[in-house]
């Protein structure tokens, strides 16, 4: 059910996720797996466009934070790096796994204390694409 709600939220609020054919395959507090269709994301070489790979990685990381944080938090991407090691030639999965407990606990502690905190999340697409991005979480002004 969690994954259906997340899918609906993405399609309704970030429409490019629908254009890309992103589907939530797994959505837990520990791990997010997104499946993405090949056809809408192809390029002139009949491989997946690098921009789509980056977008899928962001969606995976953003979803993990969205599932873990309550809705009084705003999630913003601050910066990211991506390495394209090999072409992607088919439908693909972007996977984000929750960081280790010490890193996560520090993030949550800072977020509670200061109303904002930053965390480095990673996503990968098979062995072809490695993504790392800093995401900031902010408590909305006025929320408790």
């Amino acid at each position: 059910m969690k994954k259906d709600l997340l899918q609906k939220y993405l399609y309704e609020n970030i429409p490019i996720s629908k254009a890309m054919g992103i589907e939530i395959e797994e959505a837990s507090l520990e791990k997010v797996v997104l499946s993405t269709s090949f056809a809408p994301n192809i390029n002139h070489k009949k491989t997946v466009f690098g921009g789509s790979l980056h977008a899928a990685a962001i969606f995976a990381c953003w979803s993990l934070l969205y599932l873990n944080l309550d809705h009084s938090k705003e999630i913003v991407i601050v910066k990211s790096e991506i390495s394209y090691k090999a072409p992607v030639l088919s439908d693909f999965k972007a996977i984000c796994i929750k960081p280790e407990k010490m890193v996560w606990d520090r993030f949550i502690k800072t977020l509670r204390a200061k109303g904002k905190a930053k965390i480095l999340l990673s996503a990968k697409i098979g062995e072809a694409v490695y993504f790392q991005g800093y995401f900031a979480a902010l408590t909305h002004p006025g929320s408790t």
Copy 2:
């Protein structure tokens, strides 16, 4: 005319460019300016999704290389970094300017000598987004 051909090429070969509403505003050997529609790229905060900003930056840089190199070359993105300094709240332009002559000439010289070469290109979206990516150009096997 150059920009109409480039636009057609992108829409036909990399369909997500059409879904994003990318339009070629300027396409010379020195500079590429892409206009992108706000609506298809919005997120839940009614700002532009970070993945779309990254994709627009790639399209600008890729287009500059595509216009400068002959069609016997394959262009591949190797890795990139992007900094999101401020939210983008409207239609936006991604701009890529050709690197300085010394850098460009070295790239072309290496490409001719070895059949492959790598170049760092930058794109920006106003003062909100700064992108840098390494792109590799390869001479297709069998081409002269």
